[in-house]
């Protein structure tokens, strides 16, 4: 399962990295004499209604989605984990306050926060980053807090503390190795969430603006040509599905390995 997931991701990332280099055209280069070309030798995945290369646009779209997803997931995981550890370690009112904050954020659907922020700056990418990071940290906080509480009360941590080891040692040798698998699972799922959020907003027209190459936008732009040029809509749909399926496979494999 993990092999399938990793090879799917490797395939898509290879397309993202080498695609533009192989086709040699930019994502916005139009060629109005070659519109809606079917996939073939010259154009692997054909051209769209403005004669732009679908391969190149897919490559840039994957770069955009994965880049945004990694950035927002990391920005959520680091403070989320730190706050979870803090809550488990300190307890008392610090913990109660943080738990309340987390519960409140949990009642706010992530997409809604992204949408409010998008009202500040329509068509910008930072609302996605900020909104996703602000919502996703809660999961890390909750999981890390729950696990760290049992770990901190465990005999090995008590023994290490009695032997005089400081908290950096305990954190590095007793807490992080135990937390790592579940953190990786959450991060894989978080990347999928971010990718879906970006493409959903793009598809319903509140996300990034044309001519950006983005999966959701590409799907909605291709919809009018669904019977005339089906490859145009199949390419971004398949890319999105393979990306999510790859991530889901990795998350499932990590979950089973725990």
């Amino acid at each position: 399962m993990i092999r399938l997931g990793l090879s799917l991701l490797a395939l898509l990332l290879a397309l993202a990295v080498f695609g533009p280099w192989l086709t040699g055209v930019s994502a916005s280069a139009q060629d109005l004499e070659r519109v809606l070309m079917p996939p073939g030798l010259g154009e692997w995945l054909g051209t769209d209604n403005l004669g732009r290369s679908v391969v190149t646009r897919l490559a840039y779209a994957i770069r955009l989605s994965t880049g945004l997803a990694l950035l927002s997931v990391l920005s959520a995981a680091v403070p989320g984990t730190a706050l979870g550890l803090l809550a488990a370690w300190r307890g008392g009112w610090v913990e109660r306050l943080l738990v309340m904050l987390a519960d409140a954020v949990l009642a706010l659907p992530g997409l809604l926060l992204v949408l409010i922020l998008l009202a500040f700056a329509p068509g910008a990418i930072w609302p996605f980053y900020v909104g996703l990071a602000l919502v996703l940290w809660v999961e890390y906080f909750r999981v890390v807090r729950a696990q760290a509480r049992t770990l901190l009360a465990s005999p090995q941590v008590e023994a290490a503390a009695l032997m005089g080891f400081g908290w950096p040692y305990i954190l590095r040798c007793h807490l992080l190795p135990e937390l790592l698998p579940i953190l990786l699972t959450l991060m894989t799922l978080g990347v999928a969430t971010a990718v879906v959020a970006l493409s959903t907003a793009g598809y319903i027209g509140v996300g990034l603006r044309p001519p950006t190459a983005e999966l959701g936008l590409m799907i909605s732009e291709a919809f009018p040509y669904v019977f005339e040029a089906p490859w145009l809509i199949i390419a971004p749909v398949a890319t999105l599905l393979l990306l999510i399926a790859g991530l889901a496979c990795i998350a499932e494999a990590l979950r089973r390995a725990r």
């Binding site: 949990l106 809604l112 669904v226 889901a248």
Partner: protein, 314 residues
């Protein structure tokens, strides 16, 4: 009783915190909009040719845009605590009136989706749970993983292509024709029923392996009577608790699916308010959605308390 009180107090504090947070964010949104907001709102209300300075000044006074930021924020909060959501910047009607109308459509869609999801997932989950590891169980696991991996907007799109364009069985969008509810409800229901079937299956497998379940059959009850008496109640608790967590999924889904199928509910209204930068409307919709989640969670906590006597003593 004490437990119920504590539970309600926590949820109330949560609701208050959320409401203040969202409303403050919306306040800053109103102030941060580029250009003269009062003029823009007046223009969208009376038409570009009819805007006068007087009309813009009236809007400015109405939204407290002439006050210094901190005092205006105070007014904004007081209005919120009095449940006054203001007036839609675009239509000029009270936000509550607009919401009441749209909420009906959304509730209709959500109820249809949850009912359809239960109708799909419950029978499959119970069958699979009675025979864990069987063929149906394996197929269900694979199907659930697959369905969950498809984002709702893509599922909706695929359903439109399949059932409205290729096989013209149901209309693709709108809400006035017969059968327009079907495709949006099915889209939401499929996304919900994938994990729901897993929950039903796990609960059923767990209940059917307990001694009391086996004993009730030993004492002569039929398979059906055993299920109704001992199975259903035990399955209901995890299913309800799970549905409560899925309300967030449902609300996100409602925003996307209503826009996709032009269903005139609050999700559709939110997207329109975003396009028009109608801040009072954005605030109203987001408040109703998130407070709805808190309220629903509180209700589910209470129902689980009533359904499961074990919870009461904890």
């Amino acid at each position: 009783m004490k437990r119920i009180g504590l539970l309600l107090a926590t949820r109330l504090a949560q609701a208050l915190f959320l409401a203040l947070g969202i409303s403050t964010l919306c306040f800053f949104l109103l102030r941060a909009l580029p250009g003269d907001v009062a003029f823009r709102i007046a223009a969208s209300r009376y038409g570009l040719d009819m805007v006068t300075t007087a009309a813009a000044e009236a809007v400015r006074a109405e939204l407290n845009l002439d006050l210094p930021a901190l005092r205006a924020l105070g007014h904004w909060w007081v209005a919120l605590l009095r449940f006054d959501l203001g007036v839609s910047a675009i239509t000029g009607r009270a936000v509550w009136t607009e919401l009441a109308q749209q909420l009906g459509h959304t509730v209709q869609l959500a109820v249809a989706a949850v009912a359809l999801a239960l109708a799909i997932s419950a029978p499959l989950g119970v069958r699979a749970g009675l025979n864990p590891g069987g063929r149906l169980d394996t197929a269900l696991l694979a199907g659930a993983l697959l369905l969950r991996a498809i984002p709702p907007f893509l599922l909706g799109l695929l359903l439109i292509i399949a059932f409205a364009l290729i096989l013209p069985l149901a209309p693709a969008a709108g809400h006035l024709e017969q059968g327009t509810l079907f495709l949006p409800a099915l889209t939401l229901a499929l996304g919900l029923s994938a994990p729901l079937a897993r929950i039903v299956r796990d609960a059923m497998a767990q209940v059917s392996s307990t001694p009391y379940y086996a004993f009730s059959r030993t004492k002569g009850l039929s398979e059906a009577a055993t299920f109704w008496r001992h199975g259903l109640r035990n399955i209901a608790v995890p299913v309800l608790a799970y549905l409560a967590t899925q309300l967030v999924f449902l609300i996100e889904g409602v925003v996307v699916i209503e826009t996709l199928f032009a269903w005139p509910g609050i999700g559709h209204a939110l997207i329109h308010a975003l396009f028009g930068r109608d801040v009072p409307m954005i605030q109203g919709v987001v408040l109703v959605m998130s407070l709805g989640i808190v309220l629903f969670n509180a209700l589910v906590d209470l129902v689980c308390l009533l359904l499961d006597p074990r919870e009461r003593t904890v």
